[in-house]
Structures are given as structure tokens and as C-alpha cells.
Symmetry: C2
Subunit: 220 residues, 2 copies
Amino acid sequence: MDVKTETAVDSLAEDERQPTRIQAINRGIILDAALDVFSVHGFKGSTVDQIAERAGMSKPNLLYYYRRKRDIYAAVLELTLDAWLAPLESLDPDGDPIEELRRYISKKLELSAERPEASRLFANEILAGAPAIGGFLSTRLKRLVQAKAAVIGQWVSEGRLAPVDPHHLIFMIWATTQHYADFDVQVRAILGEQVGKPGFREQTAQAVLSIILNGIRPRP
Amino acid sequence: MDVKTETAVDSLAEDERQPTRIQAINRGIILDAALDVFSVHGFKGSTVDQIAERAGMSKPNLLYYYRRKRDIYAAVLELTLDAWLAPLESLDPDGDPIEELRRYISKKLELSAERPEASRLFANEILAGAPAIGGFLSTRLKRLVQAKAAVIGQWVSEGRLAPVDPHHLIFMIWATTQHYADFDVQVRAILGEQVGKPGFREQTAQAVLSIILNGIRPRP
DNA sequence: GTCTATAGATTGATAGAC
DNA sequence: GTCTATCAATCTATAGAC
């Protein structure tokens, strides 16, 4: 990479506090690599060497961008927190309950298939006792879940859903959808090559949606 | 501990290849401690020091019983593998489908509440790519799941269950029940102190059973 | 069987040349 | 910004006294 040429093209009057183009690129490469490593082995089980190798740079160079291992970890986590809340946030109190939950479950399954590393990153963090995101869990996440549980509770009390415990319904949706990311190795060991083949995602969605939605559909 | 007295009482003509009483006791203490540590941080994230401290013995003494870290890990895993298969194995093809699945889900929820560390141990191992139990997953576990999926498929074709994909139903049951062990920290952050209180387990079981069983009950 | 001491390897992080 | 070299801490595992 020719650094001088790269920056000279894009940056006029570069502010010292603004990240340069090469900084932004390298930070992005590092965070991608860090996600791959942390999502498999967790924070304690991962090494800076592993991340540096996967990012294709030397360890000291990586530590030039993020001074300490926990800084990389914090950056990776923060990048994924918002994406984690988005699907549940979009659950619309004014929509049709079954259709809203169908959309939510579908969205979570898509996320699980497209960004399984993000799911595994959180799984590892929570298994380890959530030392880094304990605050997030008990504030932002808790508030969001309480709000959406109230919405589901409202739907139930209006008779638009079968009488279900909203919190446990949310947990079941999380568990089931994230299972396909977190336990991917196990799913593959049992189902074999069909995992990842064209129709598998649709088949999974159909099966999961059928059971859960039938389970909460209001009954006459 | 007075070793001589202990063994003299219980062992007559002790065979050199048989573990002595103190050996059995210490191995048990070590495995309990190792389960606690490995289930939180996984294999790579755990240290022999941590296990030794929790077991209340020195590191060299611990390594007298299990020569290497991976030997301890293998022993802990093997101890829990059978208990892991047992509930699914007991799914009876000749029983009533809904009642059999109710029993299975209840059993898994009990296990999740009573031995959450075992669940977290597997979760960590599978997240890490199942380096130690990959063989178990693709042989014993796969065979068992295929057999029980066939049973569920039979129930479906007889019209005794709604048309569900047996494998995905099993995955959903695993995911949902194990969620309460694996993501305990998150569940506690959201639900607060009610987790662990007297009625919580029953409330959870009621909610989970209601959704899943209603979701697969045959419809006229 | 249990301990202290320590070897040998890995790891997080820094120094300093370019 | 990137590299080689290296320090200091941690970690697995062993040696050897008791």
C-alpha cells in the first residue's frame, strides 16, 4: 500500500483528530478479524497474535490502532450492540400481532444466518458472565424487553394472541433463532451437507415459524 | 486428612490398579472444580491455576491426578456426555406424542436448572468449534437424533402431531431449554430477582410447554 | 500424595529503528 | 505507520524434597 498516494487523493486539510483514510481502513480490517477470533474463543481464549495474523498485520502494528486487547474487544462489541437491538425495536404495537412476530422471527433468523459471528460473540460474552456488557444487559436491553413485553402482553389481553408469558416468548424466539448461529457446528454435524444449501434457510424459517406462531395463535 | 487411616478402614487388599479412596475423592473434587471453571471460560480461556484454586489444592498436586489440562477437560466432558443423551433417549415411540414431548421438555428444563454448568460446558465447546467432541456430535448424537426424529416423523405421518419438521422441533427444544442455563446471566439481568425464586421454574415450564405443545398439537 | 521451586512456552504490551 | 526485538507477566508442566 502506498500510504502517501492514498491519503493525498482523498484528504484535503486533514484534521489531526479525524481518522485518516488508512486508519479507517485498518481499523475496519482489525475489527473484522477480531470478530472472527473473539466469536470463536471468547475474550480470554483469544490472543492478539491470532487477531493480528487474521488481519494480515504484525502484532505491534495492530496495537498501534488499539492499544490493548480489551480495547479491540470493546470496539467489536459496541459495533454489534445496536444491530442486536434493531429487530426487536421494530416490533410495531399497531401491527397485526402474528404478522409482527412473524417478521421479527424472520429477521432474527436472517441475522443468524448472515452474521453468525455476532451471535456467537454475544453468546461467548454472556457465557463468561457478561463482564463487558453487563451494564448493557441490565439497562438498554432490559428496558427494551420490558417495553416490548408490555406490547405483547397488551396483545394477549386483547385476545389477539393466546395467553402466553411475553418474556418467555421473547426468550424462546432468541434461543431458537440464535441456535442456528451459536450451535452451527452441532446443526451441521447432525444435518450434514444440507445446511447451507439453497433451500435450507427457507425450510428452517418455515419450521420455526410454524411451531411458534401456531403455539401463540389465539384459539376460539 | 490422614490418608493411612482413611484407606485402612475401607480397603482390604487394595489392588494397585484400582483407584484408592483418596484418589477417587480428589478426582471428584477436581472434576467438580474443573466443570465450574471450564463451563464459564471454555477450554482455552481456563487455566490450571483457576481449577486448582477452586479445588483447594496446589497446581502440582492437581496435575498429579490429571497429567495435563486437556486430560481434565476430556474427563469432565465424558462425565457429562451420557447425562446429555439420556433425556432424548427416553423418548418413547409407544407413548402418547404430546405427553412424551411434554416429559422430554420438562426433563430438559430440569436439567438446565439443576446442572446449568453442564449445559454451559457444551455451549462453550460447540462455540469453539467442538474440537473435543466433534466425533461425538457426528456419531452418537447424530445417530440418536436421527432415530428420534424418525419417531417424531412417524407420529406426524399418523396425524398424531401437526406437520412439523422433526429435526427443527428437536433443535427448538434444545435451544429453548438450554437458553435458561447458557444465558442465565442475561435472563437474570432482564427478569431480576424473580429468577430462582420458588415458582420461577414452574412458571418457565408452563410458558415453554404451552407454546411448543400448542404449536405441534394436531389440528382438526 | 503433597509441597516448593522452576523450567520452558505463550502472551500482552512496549521500545526504538526505519 | 510498520517493523524487529524484547520485556514482564502468565501459563503448562516437570523436578525433586518431604
